[in-house]
């Protein structure tokens, strides 16, 4: 099994002496390349924190995160940002889009920030897959929640990152839309050969993954 992402003994504690919250408690896991891994756990079990550290958004108190063998926290902030820009795509639960940009611009934003030119055909293809070709110029304020999340998915795909990290991307959606978004995400990711790590507390959704990791109180319970 090829590991594309690996955490080694990650630790993140919050709070002071008496009220320590062990968000991530010596967690080590490996994510297989090209597969759909879901991380489940109750609220407050530390999964978001874990995901954020895996994506380099948060620095751990101790431990390492290796992406493609590279210790990402050994990079300087600037380099880390560039690394993140090119290797990782994020999808959050809500407010993923920049309100003042239209759908197209939101999708190509990471590419633009990287200074690369947009592969128009590829982006159009993604747009077709998510069924938003009609709404290229629409502003996020006019889109429904499901539509917004779909655009977020498209954005994560457009830059062709190696890893897509999704933090409860369908948490705010109704079941039908949820199903759609997940189906879409899963098929895109497998077609383009990307790795998907998704946090969810919905077991129905989790089962669609190739592998489920269960987190409880900051520790991996089942994997």
């Amino acid at each position: 099994m090829k590991k594309i992402l690996e955490t080694q003994n990650l630790v993140k504690y919050y709070g002071s002496q008496n009220n320590v919250v062990k968000a991530v408690d010596h967690t080590s896991l490996q994510i297989e390349a090209g597969k759909f891994t879901s991380i489940v756990g109750r609220s407050g079990s530390g999964k978001s924190t874990l995901l954020h550290m895996m994506g380099g958004l948060d620095r751990p108190d101790s431990g390492k995160v290796l992406i493609e063998g590279k210790d990402i926290f050994s990079l300087k902030d600037e380099k880390l940002a560039v690394f993140r820009r090119r290797k990782i795509g994020f999808i959050f639960q809500s407010y993923n889009l920049i309100p003042s940009l239209n759908v197209w611009e939101n999708i190509v934003l990471p590419i633009g920030l990287d200074g690369r030119k947009v592969d128009q055909d590829f982006v159009r293809e993604i747009l077709a897959r998510i069924g938003m070709e009609e709404k290229i110029h629409a502003l996020p304020g006019t889109l429904s929640g499901g539509q917004q999340q779909r655009v977020a998915v498209a954005r994560a795909l457009a830059a062709r990152p190696a890893i897509i990290l999704a933090d409860e991307p369908t948490g705010n959606l109704d079941s039908k839309t949820e199903l759609e978004v997940i189906s879409m995400l899963k098929s895109c990711v497998s077609e383009y050969g990307q790795t998907l790590v998704m946090i969810t507390h919905d077991e129905t959704i989790a089962q669609m993954a190739d592998r489920i990791i269960v987190i409880e109180d900051g520790k991996v319970v089942r994997s």
Binding site: T49, H52, G55, L57, D58, R59, D77, E78, A81, V82, R84, R85, R86, G89, F90, F92, Y95, N96, I98, P99, S100, L101, N102, W104, E105, V108, L109, P110, I111, G112, L113, D114, G115, K117, V118, Q120, H137, A138, L139, G141, T142, R155, A159
Partner: protein
Amino acid sequence: MKTVTKTAFSNFRQNRSRNVLCGIAILLTTLLIFLVLNIGANMFTIQFAGVNAYYPTYHCMFRQVSQENADALAVHDDIETLGLRADFGQVTGADICSDTGASAGSAASGHVSSDDADIMLMSVDQTGLALNKTELEQGSFPEEEKEIAVYRSMLDEFGISADIGDEITLSFQLFEEGGLGYETQDTFRISGFLTNSDAAASSNTFVVLTSMDYMKKCIPADQREYRVMFRLTDAKGKTSDAIEEQARQIAAGFGINENDIVFNSEYLMANYVDPGLTAGVAAIILVIIFAGILTIYSIYYVSMIPKVREYGRLKALGASKRQIRQIVFREGLIAAAAALPVGLLLGSVISRPVILSMFGLYGSDSNLDPSAKAFNSLCADLVQSGQVSLFHWWIYLLTVAAVLVTVYLALIRPMRIASKISPVEAMRYQGESRKGKSRKGYQNMNLFRLTLAGLSRNKKRTFLTITTLSVIGILFMTVATVISCADPKELAHEDIDSDCRITIDSWEGDKMNPQRSWSEIMKNNPMDEEFMQQLSSVPGVEDVRTSTYLAGELPDLDPDGIISGADVAGIDSSRARELERTIIDGDFTWEELLSGDQIVAKWSFAVFYPEAEVGDPIRIRFDTPDGPVERTFTLAGICRYSEGFSGSLFVLPQEVLAQICPYNLTDTCDITVDPAHKDAAYAGIRELADSSGLFVLDTYEEFLDTWEGTMSFISYAGYAFLVILGAIGIMNLINTMINSIYTRRHELGMLQAIGLSERQLLRMMQTEGLFYTVCTLILSLGIGSLAGFGAYQYASSTGMLNITVFHYPALQAVLLAAVVLAVQLTLTGAVTAGFGRLSLIDRIRYSE
């Protein structure tokens, strides 16, 4: 209620930094508003108080009123109080009286020459004394027939040493029809000494105050001529114009000539509303208050998004509308409650020294005549002694009201927004987003386009911030322009054309001192050939240039004599070309002027008489000792010459004036000295100038000093004012920048999650800030320069501050641009760095 207040307090504490910022803004604005109001109002109040203390308190004076009319006026319904004064003779000599009183026959031994000192014999009744504010140093006013009150300095002049109770003999001539009577003598007892003895000495005019009885004894009833000073009844609240109108009506009713009506203008102006002046001052104050209010409003407006969220939260917790309103106001009030008193206190503390220095400054201005100097020091004294309070409750009230109203208005908006939408939406409030459905957008995105999109998102807020900053910038440029146009050297050169200048100080219409009338002086002009010789022979004097002078009225253009007189200066041919060079309207040559039927007017002529045009006939009735002489001239042209060139409204060649009036009309000597021997020359000139009490010496250095002093004070005040304005502006900017980052915390955090690096974030912030800066600078410098130019135009057309030449305040403009840029760059850097310290996750997590 307590909960409400507690919530307000804890809210306040939580948003500490934001509220501190607001607090400082409120403080500065309060300070500004208060200072402007206070100093402005106080200047008026103090001056008015000074006027009331200094000047006589009557509204109007009629001259040459007969005894009959005087009695009739006394019972006139409209007249509240009436005082009488009769100037009935001239004293020619004085002598001490030996105890036996047998001084009859002894000739006057005081060495007094009649053209030297001027001693008026007059009597004033009690009311008159009160209205005139005549005061005694010592003793009492004459009541018994033979009592008199005199100036100590007069006795000194005669070499007499006498005290209260002593008797002196005076020789005098009574006024009779057509002139003075024969010299008579009489003995009087000194009952009191008048104040202002030194002023009398320096102007060489004295008064011997007798009792009314004595005057009545000397002058038969039908020959008595009074000056009647009176106050109108129910004058309080009337405008000065109304009072003047009423007085004129009374005069007309009693057949009193227009020329014999004298209004106590300073007093009237001080006590009764002059609509024009008030309006102008109010306008300026309003502009300043407006700028301050705009700032406070915009600061609160910018932090509107967090506020709406707060209110949403409160609503969700179950606070009723009324409670929310209370919390809102209490929170806003806390900021104001802290800042207002401090601002008011600071303002109060600063006001006093500022005002004192303003009076002190003007007091030391040696250019002003002695009476003005005395007036200013009187004002300063009034302030110092606390007789005039610097603190007027209504100013405080107005300031507090203005600030509170603004804060209220500023807080109402977010509350209204929050009340319109549900609590949950309010909590997630992102700002008034564009109502657009779609956007054309770009094919390729980059950082710059992202920044642009962000800016266009909240256009209103951007607009408001830029407007506020620009207003401040425009004010800055305007003030800076005015200040830089006023170069003390240039201004001094406006006042005086040469190195120094001796003028004859004459004034009209002073029946107390009729000998200062020009018509009188020219009969025995001290500026004669001999004087000229002496002047020219002072070592170091290179050139002496004289000009003559004749005064008169314009019966056609100004029949009531209220707009201007017709004062005409006579200049010699050496200044011919200079005059021609200053023509702004019309055309003429010196040679044409010599013909005697053409006259040249000053630029202010066009202001006074806007309908008059070049080529119109100007009829002037000159006052000459031999009676009025009328001449009609054609207005050949209007020139813009400086005060130093001539202070008169009209200019003619000396030869022409000489033809009109044969007396010695020389009144000004412009002296140029050799710079190498300046001191010696000045000393000699000064000596000569002191030789006559009629002379006044002005030097270029004095004017320069004054202007430098004035300008430094004005620049100091102006720049202090601007610094406060600038501080407010900077705070506005700080607030905008901080808010623009913190309300977009979540969005920015997310941007960073998808790949915006710290450096790119900084660049984005800098670009935004630069946008604000550039827009503000363009508006400030662009419109500001225009406004400055406009102010210059206005100033030069009204002769304010002697400004004539336009200097663009290039240095200040560059400074403004540099400071604004520097501030913005450092600010952005600081705020971004502070933001960067928040971990990425905190940014995303706390979307509230």
